[in-house]
């Protein structure tokens, strides 16, 4: 469903991505692992059109999207959940969700506020609360819920477990399983290997803007030296 081929990207003059290739299919949860500064977020942002792709291809559902503006990409059914959440702090939970709203899409689960409140029960109790007055975990749920309001077929989750309390991380893992159950394709970036092992079927390891490993989660779990080389801090 999502196919990235030889992607290059720059911040100003700094060359960040050096030919990243990866793919994710429907019903697939794929983890993009790597240390801080390895380029995980840049991969996400470049796929989403927030950072322009200098070279390479991004294909979504058979359509080339690397030259499209972010809103067009979102409207094709690719959802993006940013690393730093980027909640609209002045807006209430309901209003944050309203901003994410897009018409239902063929071949994708249709979300409503109520369905999302079932997935993230905490949010149901604070519908009118401004985003700025929520805890980090609540904001993380809201940012995912907001993206789901667009009824995406595939979501990019940038570090969904970052900075969350262990109990919230567990809840997050359950939510991602639920998304997989709905047939979504999920690409998540993570530093937390345990969390990724709990949710992902496949994994890529990125370092210095290059993919160093791609395979099943089982393979990665079996290979201690690989983890040592690229993931241990």
């Amino acid at each position: 469903m999502l196919l990235v081929k030889d992607l290059h990207a720059y911040y100003g003059r700094a060359h960040i991505l050096h030919g990243v290739s990866l793919e994710a299919s429907a019903g697939d949860v794929v983890a993009l692992l790597g240390r801080n500064g390895a380029g995980k977020s840049t991969v996400m942002k470049t796929i989403m059109g927030l950072v322009s792709a200098a070279r390479g291809e991004v294909t979504f559902d058979g359509r080339r999207i690397e030259r499209l503006p972010p809103y067009r990409i979102a409207r094709l059914g690719l959802g993006y959940v940013p690393e730093d959440r980027r909640i609209f702090t002045e807006l209430s939970v309901m209003e944050n969700l309203a901003v994410g709203l897009q018409p239902p899409r063929a071949g994708a689960p249709s979300w409503t506020e109520d369905k999302l409140f079932a997935l993230f029960p905490n949010l149901a109790n604070m519908r009118e609360r401004p985003g700025g007055r929520m805890s980090g975990g609540e904001q993380q749920m809201l940012t995912i819920a907001r993206t789901l309001m667009g009824n995406p077929r595939c979501v990019l989750l940038d570090e969904p477990s970052e900075g969350l309390a262990p109990i919230i991380v567990e809840q997050m893992a359950r939510s991602i399983h639920a998304l997989k159950g709905e047939g979504l394709c999920v690409l998540l970036s993570e530093q937390n290997l345990h969390f990724s092992q709990a949710v992902a079927d496949r994994a890529y390891i990125i370092e210095k803007g290059q993919i160093r490993f791609g395979g099943s989660m089982a393979e990665l779990t079996a290979d201690a030296s690989l983890r040592e080389q690229y993931l241990s801090v």
Binding site: Y11, G12, M48, L50, V51, P69, P70, Y71, A74, R75, Y80, P82, R86, F88, T89, E90, L91, E95, N96, A98, V99, G100, L101, Q102, R146, T147, G150
Partner: protein, 630 residues
Amino acid sequence: MTFASIIIQLLNGLAAAASLFLVSAGLSLIFGVTRIVNFAHGSLYMLGLYGAYTLIEALGRTPLGFWTSVVLSALAVGLVGVLIEVLVLRRIYRAPELFQLLATFAVVLVIKDIALFTWGAEDLVGPRAPGLSMAVEILGRRIPAYDLLLIAIGPVVLLVMWLLLTRTRWGALVRAATQDREMVGALGVDQAKLFTSVFFVGSVLAGLGGALQIPREPANLELDLSVIADAFVVTVVGGLGSIGGAFLAAMLIGVAKAFCIGVGTVNWFGAEIVFSKLTLVVEFLIMAIVLVVRPFGLLGKPQAAQRIAADPAPPLTVPSWTFVLVGLALLLAVPVAADRYVTILLTDIFCFALFAVSLHFIMGPAGMVSFGHAAYFGLGAYAAGLLMKRAGLPMEAALVLAPLVVGAFAVVYGWFCVRLSGVYLAMLTLAFAQISWSIVFQWDSFTGGSNGLFGVWPSAWLAGKTAYYYLALAFCGAGVALLWRVLFSPFGYALRAGRDSPLRAEAIGIDLRAYQWMAFVLVGALAGLAGAVYAFSKGSISPSTISIAQSTDGLIMVLLGGVETLKGPLAGAAIFTWLRDEVARRTEFWRGVMGVVILAIVLLFPQGLVGGLKALTQRWREAQSREKTA
């Protein structure tokens, strides 16, 4: 003051505040979402007023005709706003903010001349509102019924706006985009459409504000800049992006002004000047107090930095000695080789070049954008003139002392300004310029008022055009050299560090505010020098040297040349001054022509002329080297 007269003044103030609120609310809304300071917002107000005038003439002076005209005019202005957004601003949303500002200046020029062409230069007095031309008696005083209606319209519009912003998805999108428009885009919202709609609503508000004034004030061509200045004050006092704040501030300022006029009525006849002086002081005092106590306005919040991947300004390069020496040699040869006209034009250019370079210093390397730089230029001109005419000093002494006088003004103005940053700072500088202008404009006995000062000629030995040319070259050249030198001193480095990261600069022990204050004074004094040299070259001084138009001219020069290079402001000043001279000799509509030229440049070279040329040569060089390697 009796209770009755207090109430009456209160009502007067509230009536005057209604339109001020409408136009400020529109400005605030547009700024919040697009981060564009729409200088053309006052022009939209002016169009609303003219449009209502014409429509009422066509539709008849009946209640139906009147109100249809007001509404149609506001909607038409909304469409003009859409046109501006789609044709100009949409193409440059990724350009630096200042360039967007330059584009809106250009739009001001174009709209002014379209209005001049369509409606002529005469003031147009509209009809009273049919059906509402009577007065209502309140506490024994007569209040026009139309004023009472205006008082009601303000809160109604506030309510409608509040409902729109808090009860509709459009409102949620607008508020979300005000905080983080990139994220809104990533959620599938087409920013272009959102921006267009915001421009429409904001422009309708401005148009409505203007159209509603038709029974109260004549349509005239000066409204664009005077209204934008008032709207800036209101927006800054209320807090940028806050509609409620704009309402509060408009009411506060409207009422305070009305009370000043009320107090001034003790001396009804002949004291007119005193009232308006007081009203200006009051507007300024309110703003100064509010900004010192609450730097983000009454209801404003600290500006969230918009997430736009703006490249940091590149380091400055020192102009080469070859450039300086060849330039100087050529300029020294001009009076010998060229005719009188070129000599005079170049003398003007020298003054404006120093003016532009000083503005560039403060807005580029020092990172403090000034919308009111003409204050220092104009005060320099007046200081020189007054030192000679009123203090009886010789011309030479006046010329040398004038920058010091202006420096003293800059000490005061700067003290307030460096407490703010960004758009707030820019608008405060504009307010200071407006206050300086009005004092000069109204103090007939001292400054000559609207006529200005005459007979400000240089001493005999400098009276020749050639002699004065060399004097202007020496003084302005020295000023430019000093500013450039300072930029590469530790003081200059500290300023640039403060621009790029105020936190880090302060963390390494730079007292940024003190440095910025000093920069303000230095730059003010040198702009004052430019003004003084200019004054003696013309022999007369008019209040227009302090006007907003003069300030925007300076901004245009700097932005046209490019704010990221040192030579840019020189090129900008030269091209602008020459072009204005050429165009003004050929057509009455020189402003419109200049506006179109500037728009073309903005759309073609979003980094300014010098910046654009640099980028072009770099691309050419890269292509060359690629060919070589291939």
